[in-house]
């Protein structure tokens, strides 16, 4: 990604085994950095980055890192990169200013630590400016930013070129964040990107099949992954009351209210396009977690009539002989029909319009003290 846009990086190679890492290090020349290749951040703190002065150290570091996992993701590859002496470090970033709805370019002459740390401790060293997404980052804007952090002459144009290249990475890959931290200046006056991060917009991934970002390499939790596969958002929590909601806000509100007296087992949001098949799969998903005491369903018929979803729930309960209490609050198109279907199959129906009342009813059923 970075090399293609002309961003200079230290010599590097990827290795899948300690032995391979040793060979690559020999080709590159010591000392080297050995870094975990995982699709998450925070690998430094998790022990996923080590310096090696000798080939034995390379092998040891690679073996240690390849045996570990970072934020739940197993490390399958390490990067072996030439260790670079640095005279000065910079932070370069392109991010989205969500409120203004524009890209934002950020530059600081203090790299190495997180941009938030820099912004908190030395706010005067950080410059940022909104970028017109239709025009792109103009060279003059990049020069101006470099000037503001105190660069001049050849340095100014060199860093500005790298900032422009980083902006192209941001745009070409539908990134929400693209950052180089640090960009190092070597004692010889060369600039090299030592570490970088790109966060790609999930909604933009369809334009980048070439990235081939397999879900198992991105989402460590198997239930959360399963949720993605069936088209819902599932977040595992540590309680025992399963939640199925037809919207994110309603799901969060249900979670908040349940948390007062009971413990939610998950957050789950189906979106408005509920079908019988979807709710069947969703029942299966939330009940895969062990020790669920009850299921609380909170849905509104928006895109589709809601009784379709009810059919999926009761079909699942019949086929899998579900005996724990299932309570449903369902409002919207075809609500009366929905209540009938639920009641016929032993689902406890909440007819009150407030979620609080529904959850009170659930607490009484489970005999949870108030």
């Amino acid at each position: 990604m970075f090399c293609r846009e002309g961003i200079p990086v230290p010599d590097y190679a990827l290795a899948g085994s300690p032995k391979e890492a040793r060979e690559k290090a020999q080709e590159i020349g010591l000392p080297v950095m050995v870094k975990a290749q995982v699709l998450t951040e925070g690998r430094w703190l998790a022990g996923g980055v080590k310096t090696a002065q000798s080939l034995d150290e390379v092998e040891k570091a690679a073996s240690h890192i390849l045996d570990s996992s970072i934020r739940g993701l197993p490390v399958q590859q390490v990067m072996v990169a030439r260790k670079v002496e640095t005279a000065r470090e910079f932070y370069l970033g392109i991010t989205v200013d969500e409120y203004r709805g524009t890209p934002m370019a950020i530059l600081s002459a203090e790299g190495g630590v997180s941009i938030n740390e820099i912004a908190n401790n030395r706010p005067e060293s950080v410059v940022s400016r909104p970028v017109s997404i239709t025009k792109g980052l103009l060279p003059s804007e990049a020069w101006h930013m470099c000037r503001e952090v105190g660069l001049s002459g050849k340095e100014l144009t060199q860093v500005a070129d790298i900032l422009s290249a980083l902006y192209r990475v941001f745009r070409n890959y539908d990134a929400l964040v693209a950052e180089i931290n640090p960009l190092a200046r070597t004692p010889q006056g060369d600039y090299l990107a030592l570490d970088a991060k790109v966060e790609i917009d999930d909604s933009g991934l369809f334009r980048h099949p070439e990235l081939n970002l397999a879900m198992e390499n991105r989402i460590p939790n198997p239930l959360e992954r399963k949720g993605r596969e069936i088209g819902v958002t599932y977040v595992e929590l540590d309680g025992d009351i399963a939640i199925i909601a037809s919207g994110a806000g309603l799901g969060m509100a249900s979670m908040d209210i349940i948390s007062q007296r009971m413990r939610p087992a998950n957050f789950l949001e189906t979106g408005g396009a509920i079908t019988a098949d979807l709710l069947y799969k969703v029942m299966d998903l939330v009940l895969q977690k062990k020790g669920i005491r009850a299921v609380f369903i909170n849905v509104y018929g928006g895109i589709n009539p809601i009784h379709e979803g009810a059919k999926g729930v009761v079909r699942y309960m019949q086929e899998h002989n579900v005996t724990i209490p299932v309570m449903a609050k369902a409002l919207g198109n075809h609500q009366e029909e929905t209540w009938e279907i639920f009641k016929e199959h032993g689902v406890h129906v909440v007819t009150d319009v407030s979620t609080e009342k529904g959850i009170e009813q659930l607490a009484r059923l489970l005999e949870v003290g108030t």
Binding site: N116, G249, M252, M255, G271
Partner: protein, 293 residues
């Protein structure tokens, strides 16, 4: 007329020939919405629910005088659809579509910024002027006519709060789902401004959630410009850090300490906004404001 739309507004449906477009057109018509045309490229000449379908927005504007448009268009086609709709002179666009690339949203936003158009969404359940017209997927039977404006980041919570208000004898003027993405076309303060000057609205309810800075910016606006009372509910007190809670924009960035419900509540309280602990508590708070002591 409340805000954004009323029973006279001449509505266009883009993506009208799709499965969702068809059924939603039927429900919008049943609600009383003045749907005058549909657009699906390549389907010009067809009819859906008796509504003529055109290939382009320009044609729908020329032939039927369409002035507002609701999108049931798939994500990859949104950018083109939006630019063509803006160019055709439509003044209100409601984008129901979810999962639009953020870069496309930013491009459309910039294109619209110096033109006379209001875009709501994306990932919006729609806009409903209660008892008159609706553009979007909100079930009409959740709402009751009245004088409370609702601005919500969540579709389902806008229903939950409206139906609870109605049960408490309080109706709504216009309910706007502003959308749940990290970048939205129309921010909360702009809608507060519209409600502030709307003679049919007495009070505004904000329904917020974790993530972003919409509620904090709304607080700044309320402090400076609002004379009407505002009541708020914020969802996600128990949302774990770093997880997107169903909405792309609903994420607490732990490292930044940003987007927490506590921060939003503090900002709103600071400027005199009453905060409901749970959705239905909004009713009591609204009543307190509307009943003279």
């Amino acid at each position: 007329m409340s805000i954004l739309l009323n029973r006279e507004t001449r509505v266009l449906v883009q993506g009208i020939t799709g499965r969702i477009g068809r059924v939603q057109t039927k429900w919008m018509l049943e609600y009383g919405t003045n749907v005058v045309a549909g657009v699906t490229p390549g389907k010009g000449g067809e009819e859906v629910e008796g509504i003529p379908v055109y290939d382009t927005v320009a044609e729908a504007v020329a032939k039927q005088g369409a002035e507002a448009s609701v999108f049931f268009v798939p994500p990859p086609a949104i950018k083109e659809a939006a630019l063509q709709t803006i160019d055709a002179g439509i003044r209100l666009i409601v984008v129901v579509t979810e999962h639009i690339p953020v870069h496309d949203v930013m491009e459309i936003r910039e294109y619209a910024s110096d033109r006379d158009v209001q875009i709501i969404g994306p990932t919006s359940p729609g806009v409903i002027t209660v008892g008159e017209a609706k553009m979007g997927i909100m079930p009409g039977n959740m709402f009751t006519p009245g004088r409370i404006g609702v601005i919500s980041r969540s579709g389902t919570l806008s229903y939950e709060i409206s139906i609870n208000l109605a049960t408490g004898g309080l109706g709504q003027s216009t309910v706007v789902g502003i959308g749940a993405d990290p970048v939205i076309f129309t921010n909360m303060p702009e809608l507060l401004r519209l409600f502030e000057k709307d003679p049919d609205t007495d009070l505004v309810v904000i329904v917020g959630e974790v993530g972003g800075v919409q509620e904090e910016k709304a607080a700044e606006f309320i402090d400076r410009w609002m004379t009407k009372p505002v009541v708020a509910y914020i969802a996600g007190h128990n949302a774990p850090e770093g997880k997107r809670m169903g909405h792309a924009g609903a994420i607490i960035h732990g490292e930044y300490g940003m987007g927490t419900p506590q921060g939003k509540i503090a900002a709103l309280r600071e400027v005199g906004v009453d905060i409901a602990r749970y959705p239905a508590d909004v009713v009591g708070l609204v009543k307190k404001h509307l009943t003279p002591p």
